[in-house]
């Protein structure tokens, strides 16, 4: 566990150090994957189904706000629908407009959720969405889950009906509209999945906010059960042919992903929970403080103390890292002290003691003192000093 916590701290440090580069890179990759998925799923406009265009747009998305990925995804899908048939594009535009006017206009939640939802649907693992979103986002994100699901099914309906639309003549305007509307409104699988994912997302969010021990674990397990239950009931009622093994495996995968998210976002030590009670002029306070699990990172500090300047200091002994070398130290009587701090194994968090804070280490410290005289005597004294 300590190794994992240390790895987490390293990852956090790495991300905070290179955030300026990593965030645009993530946006670029997400935009690239999204647009490639739209192109491979629809791909009726050959001009758009071009790697150069995808790369240019993805590059633009890396500098634009996150909402740009959604915008370009919608735009690409509409262009493909238009290339297939103007009527199909009209229905697609109506669906997107309805989503915007009824849900997205309120501006709640994070639009990235819609993109990830649609992508996970395309990857056949949509069951991760409600649990992950319920754990990581607010209740407003349910709107984006619904929109992402509806967008995926819109594109799937277009792809499924493309052949039929192609066989209809250019004068069969109403038939094409009817075909698309039948595919969407009569799609019970979409309705059941929207209901299941929406309800599960809200349930996970509400449970993980409860002030009970292991709320996140309870939330993810009950979320998975609720999801499975709604989908099975939906399958029984509307005969939507959901693969039960796929559903169970997907839910297990969702739980695994949720556990990873929990480790990064909500890693607490319930065994050291503190409950305190106090009051001021206006309120009584009943406070429950659960400390986070943290670990000190290992660092190495090399301190050199030389009594005289050697001609070539760099050639001297470096006991802390690279062994020793006497080159350039023939007449020197320099003396070095190398201090090395090693990883601590303290798991105390912010709440319990200040010593658990990053930068305040409680690990062992080894000190190496060596001489650099002319003969390069190996009379160095190595000893460990434990703090």
């Amino acid at each position: 566990m300590t190794d994992l916590l240390e790895l987490r701290e390293k990852l956090k440090l790495f991300y905070s150090r290179y955030e300026a580069f990593l965030f645009p890179l993530v946006k670029f990759l997400l935009a690239f994957v999204t647009l490639t998925a739209v192109n491979s799923g629809l791909g009726y406009m050959l001009r758009l189904d071009n790697m150069a265009i995808v790369l240019i747009v993805a590059l633009a998305c890396s500098f634009l706000p996150v909402g740009a990925i959604v915008f370009f995804g919608v735009l690409f899908s509409l262009f493909h629908m238009y290339a297939l048939s103007m009527e199909v594009a009209l229905v697609g535009l109506c669906v997107y407009l309805l989503m915007f006017l009824l849900f997205i206009r309120f501006g709640v939640g994070d639009s990235l959720v819609a993109v990830i939802t649609a992508l996970l649907f395309a990857a056949h693992v949509p069951y991760i969405v409600p649990i992950a979103v319920g754990l990581m986002c607010g209740p407003g994100a349910v709107v984006w889950v619904i929109c992402g699901t509806a967008s995926y099914y819109l594109m799937r309906t277009v792809a499924e009906n493309a052949q039929a639309v192609g066989t209809l003549g250019s004068d069969a305007v109403l038939d094409k509209i009817r075909l698309m509307l039948d595919g969407l409104v009569g799609n019970r699988e979409m309705m059941v999945l929207i209901a299941a994912l929406g309800i599960t997302t809200l349930a996970v969010y509400l449970i993980r906010r409860l002030s009970v021990d292991h709320a996140w674990t309870i939330a993810m397990v009950s979320g998975a059960l609720i999801d499975v239950m709604i989908l099975l009931i939906g399958d029984l009622m509307y005969d939507i042919n959901i693969s039960v093994p796929g559903l169970l495996l997907g839910s297990l995968l969702a739980l695994a992903v949720a556990k990873v998210l929990e480790f990064f976002r909500f890693c607490v030590d319930y065994s050291r929970t503190e409950k305190v009670q106090f009051e001021d002029d206006e309120y009584y306070y009943y406070v429950k403080a659960v400390p986070k699990m943290t670990v000190a990172m290992s660092t190495r500090t090399v301190k050199q103390i030389n009594t005289r300047h050697a001609r070539n200091v760099s050639g001297g002994r470096n006991a802390g890292s690279q062994g020793r070398s006497v080159q350039g130290q023939r007449n020197g009587s320099g003396r070095r002290v190398t201090t090395e701090r090693t990883a601590g194994t303290d798991r105390r968090g912010y709440g319990s003691s200040r010593s658990g804070r990053t930068g305040d280490y409680r690990g062992g410290r080894s000190v190496t003192i060596g001489s650099t005289d002319a003969q390069g005597d190996e009379d160095s004294v190595d000893f460990d000093e434990l703090l």
Binding site: C94, L98, L102, R105, F106, I177
Partner: protein
């Protein structure tokens, strides 16, 4: 000389102004009633457009039958039905917008009060120096 407390306060305030505060300041510039009224009007317009789209799709779905039966159906009853659905949609959506905008305004004002309190505190720190 650097005042640590003042710097921490200013950093928090700058962070707030850059992020959440920008939105809250905009909301705070409205009177409560004005903010809610604008939100509800926008919601009514949105709901009207959404209803028009759904209605148009409904008509187009079975346009030929609709045109064939145009002179046979009771147009007044049809219009009454359509208006009833429109009313339900608009009122329902308006109520949701009202509740949401009231909540948002209250939340923004609470957050701004804390921000203004910090501004006063910062001012007093300057005065002390």
């Amino acid at each position: 000389m650097l005042n640590e407390e003042r710097i921490i306060l200013m950093t928090h305030m700058a962070s707030y102004e850059k992020g959440e505060g920008k939105k809250n300041v905009k909301i705070g510039s409205y009177f409560r009633s004005d903010y809610i009224a604008v939100a509800v009007i926008k919601a009514v317009i949105s709901a009207s457009v959404a209803f028009a789209i759904v209605f148009a799709l409904y008509i187009f779905y079975d346009f030929e039958t609709f045109m064939e039966n145009l002179y046979e159906i009771d147009l007044v009853a049809f219009a009454k039905n359509a208006l009833t659905y429109y009313g339900i949609t608009v009122v329902g959506y308006g109520v949701i917008a009202y509740v949401l905008s009231t909540y948002r305004h209250a939340k923004a004002m609470k957050s701004l009060r804390s921000y203004y309190h910090n501004l006063k505190k910062l001012n007093s720190l300057y005065d002390q120096q």
